[in-house]
Subunit: 324 residues, 2 copies
DNA sequence: CTGAAAGCGCTTACAG
DNA sequence: CTGAAAGCGCTTACAG
């Protein structure tokens, strides 16, 4: 029975066993180059377990000069559900390597001291950008490596849009529209996706997409579908599934048939897409490759891996349901 | 210009100014009972700023014996969107009090060392329960206070269900059904909500709700609505908006009208509810009161507030759209 | 008003 | 095979 209710230190374990702090430390850390007899090793491990010893991470960090924390900076996009599995996997793999993953979603208008100043991670892996002030604050906080993944700013984030356009094209649609979100957190991403859609249309030799913002509560969706109908648009690329739902909902209410005369495709394979009537076609992204990439990039940044990983191509699947 | 690229310590600031480390510390910490001349104070602050000084949190934690971290243990429920604003608010208020909020969502089947062992927060505020092993690990990790909010296990979590039943009753429905989710993370919560629904039905003097599980991809929703129709059910209480969407979608496909002969109400006011056709009625919960409660509970647990806050009643609104 | 110093818990080079 | 000791950066009681 532990007699004290104060937390147990390595010194307590040593004292309880009549050993030195060093010996205990060698066993607990598996320090290479030390020859500890198996019996001693076992006694130490058992006693640490019995006393409920947990190393003090503050002391470890101070001594090592490294927290072994990896902060994943996540964009404030409404994609938490697909993010969850991704985070689980990354956390698992980094944990295996002795690192702890801290997901951190900055919000626009944050009024709080950035988390890296309070935790001093070894690495920040940004799936969103850091501005100059943030980068300086991170550097001053001893963060050794701030990496912004190219995936966030480029290919992976617009690849789904390319698939949406190609899907509609392959179904015979030649006059397309793009439905933008209004949420201000999404304007930048929306612009990037629109660019990708236009570039794909140009590649396919069809006219540019007609663009309209679509919001939930202001009639914009109804106006958009009516104008698209009048303009002879037959296929709509929606920014994501929620925007697709707004477009389809408005079309159904106005009496425009989906998928004909108006086909609509979303993106993300959100939970509700198959419950919708008509069920929404969408594009799903598999996270496996990205997990490996992010994990290895973090370990590379932490100095645990010599070579950075090769960039991965996003793994996308068009899920055709009833709306196309 | 800082000449070194190593991180700046308080000793660097002192040296650069020809002062002692103590004086610098007193200024930086606003230590009471010290009379530092305003000119010295300003010099210290300016120099710290100029050099980009950031206190080392590991050293502070080691010295203080306290990390000033508050870990919010979140249930693994698909409610991230409503959680986000809540977390922002709690983080802000705790930051004002000198504490940092770490949201932590445990997943079933976690294969990772619990985050509190790696961060040693002063307080864990659980909106989910800790099992015995976790509680021991938290205690061994020096967590002073582990609090499980009564809100998570009781009133707040089922109050919405009570409102759903009352709403259908007020619209004249007397034979109700309950649509359960299949997701195993939600079984416990589902059972609690069902109990609340049955208790409310008993209070209102109507017969018990008929219960069916409803899932996305197996025809269970279709079977459920057909059987409910045959049994004369006119109102469905859905576990949440997603389940409501499945029920409504199945009803529309089978040709059962919504809201008549079958009314359906969800819960959470999820993003897509108003895009749905028919738009889903739902119950929304305002987070304001809960923010205050959680914040004050955390500060109380950290020893910063003498009295614990009074429990708050959940603030609910029925949002009637087209499905009821 | 300011300085010298202790000590939080850990890891590990060094000495036996 | 094991121990005595230094030092990471901080806060703060104590002495002037």
């Amino acid at each position: 029975m532990p007699v004290t209710n104060k937390r147990v230190t390595a010194a307590d374990v040593a004292r309880s066993l009549g050993l030195s702090r060093a010996t205990v430390g060698f066993v607990l850390n598996n320090t290479p180059g030390q020859t500890i007899p198996e019996s001693t090793r076992k006694r130490v491990l058992d006693e640490a377990e019995r006393l409920g010893y947990r190393p003090n991470p503050a002391a470890q960090a101070l001594r090592r000069g490294s927290t072994r924390l990896v902060m994943l900076l996540l964009p404030d996009w409404p994609i938490e559900s697909s993010m969850a599995g991704f985070l689980d996997e990354v956390s698992y793999h980094l944990d295996q390597a002795g690192y702890t993953t801290i997901p951190y979603t900055r919000r626009t208008g944050d009024r709080v001291r950035p988390l890296w100043e309070r935790l001093h991670p070894d690495v920040i892996l940004g799936l969103g950008e850091l501005d100059a002030a943030e980068a300086r604050s991170a550097q001053d906080s001893g963060v050794r490596s701030v990496i912004t993944l190219p995936v966030a700013s480029s290919v992976a984030v617009v690849a789904g849009t390319v698939e949406q356009v190609r899907h509609l094209y392959s179904r015979g649609h030649r006059r397309l529209a793009f439905a933008q979100p209004v949420d201000e957190r999404l304007v930048e991403l929306g612009a990037a996706r629109l660019d990708a859609a236009q570039a794909t249309a140009a590649e396919l030799g069809i006219e540019p997409l007609r663009v309209r913002p679509v919001s939930g509560n202001d009639g914009s969706a109804r106006r958009a579908v009516e104008e698209w109908r009048d303009e002879g648009v037959t296929g709509v690329v929606a920014f994501n599934d929620f925007v697709a739902a707004l477009v389809v909902g408005a079309a159904v209410r106005v009496g425009i048939g989906v998928p004909a005369p108006l086909a609509v495709i979303g993106q993300d394979d959100s939970l509700f897409t198959e419950a919708f009537v008509p069920a929404l076609s969408t594009v799903r992204m598999e996270m496996g490759g990205l997990v490996r990439y992010v994990t290895e990039m973090a370990l590379h940044a932490a100095g645990e891996l010599v070579a950075p990983p090769e960039e991965v191509a996003p793994d996308l699947t068009v899920v055709r349901r009833e709306s196309t």
